[in-house]
Subunit: 231 residues, 2 copies
């Protein structure tokens, strides 16, 4: 089947060797296709026009490749953050950028929700958040804890959104419609709050939730800084 073409030239790459860079870029292309195209080693080989196992000559395993790919996506997040913002708007821009990139590369983001890349762009993100909480007025252990609160919360949130995007259509349809199905049918006596708020629950948007979650983080930092200032 691989020789069905009239030309004797192989469809595989001619001459050019595989590089870590090329593998990372092929990974990003696959990840950007979202749920339409699973991010597997075999798919990656296809995208590169090489044998699937060729990547093992450049990365120890798929996990190490993923960390490199993830760090590249963090670069995209950083590039999206304008200069000259105060600490609150810097965190807001980081949150918005993180979400946008996570939804662009859901296969990467969903796995990275509880990981750390330990690579340069992650250092830059950490530095950015630490700078923000420092500017807000926190230092020492307080700054460290609040950095982790922000970093972990953002990772968890965008990973959650990304994982949802990757769900098979059937599961997603079931989850999506629950506010207009199962939750409409609960016993009014046993579940008065659900019954009363059924309509509003169905109407909540992802944007509203995202906004509430990000502002909660900012408010928490602000309050803690104010408490520290008084003491």
């Amino acid at each position: 089947m691989s020789k069905s073409s009239v030309t004797p030239a192989r469809t595989k790459r001619v001459g050019a060797q595989l590089t870590p860079e090329a593998i990372i870029e092929a990974s990003l292309r696959i990840a950007a296709r979202g749920s339409a195209d699973a991010f597997t080693v075999r798919r990656l080989g296809e995208e590169l026009g090489a044998d699937p196992t060729a990547i093992y000559r450049h990365f120890r395993d798929k996990d190490e490749l993923l960390l490199s790919v993830a760090d590249r996506t963090l670069g995209e997040v950083l590039d999206s953050i304008p200069d000259g913002l105060d600490w609150k708007d810097r965190l807001r821009a980081l949150a918005a950028g993180s979400l946008a990139v996570a939804l662009k590369y859901p296969a990467v983001s969903s796995i990275m929700a509880s990981r750390t890349t330990r690579r340069t762009n992650e250092f830059r993100v950490v530095e950015l958040i630490l700078g923000a909480v420092t500017e807000a007025g926190l230092d020492g252990a307080e700054a460290a804890v609040h950095y982790r609160m922000v970093g972990d919360s953002l990772l968890a949130h965008v990973g959650q959104r990304a994982a949802y995007l990757l769900l098979d259509p059937e599961s997603r349809a079931g989850d999506e419609s629950s506010w207009n199905r199962e939750y409409r049918l609960v016993d009014a006596h046993g579940f008065p709050n659900i019954t009363r708020l059924a309509q509003q629950l169905a109407e909540v948007t992802d944007d509203q939730i995202f906004h509430a979650r990000v502002e909660a983080l900012i408010t928490a930092i602000e309050q803690r800084a104010a408490a520290v200032r008084e003491a």
Copy 2:
């Protein structure tokens, strides 16, 4: 090999039929073994003393089984919440219980971070959170959005912790030691905040982060309720 015993009796279950209940309980036993034992259909068959594919006579697929299992773990969370608490302590108890149960059944919790069970115990959790935000002074769309903020945040947080627990030891070791390795080696000039706070970053505990994240949610509700009261 299956007939190596002297007794002719089969080691498989004698007479007793499989039930959804028995399958759910076997699933919980496997999930409780954490990273030591992957939650797979084949492992489930082994645990039940039946053919792995027998479960398809009682659940449409693994996903439907998982939703049922997850709803059972929500029951455990609810049972851990004492009566008579005010709204803040009720949310704190829900958060603590959710984390405890998530760490007990990490394979379930890590998958459920972006899912909804659409089953009775989830209704009870939703009712509980809605009751809390209502008691705090929110209603209508405000109550609905803040419920989603709390519910999604808790799910994301405990799912994140659970996924970390399931990481293969090698990956976890790498992530775990990063604060004392990669982050200690960054360029002091380019990363002044990381350099200054390296020690404190390494010392942050999961408990501190959890506390900060939960209190941030409570503070956000409190502030919003105060703002609504004024208007």
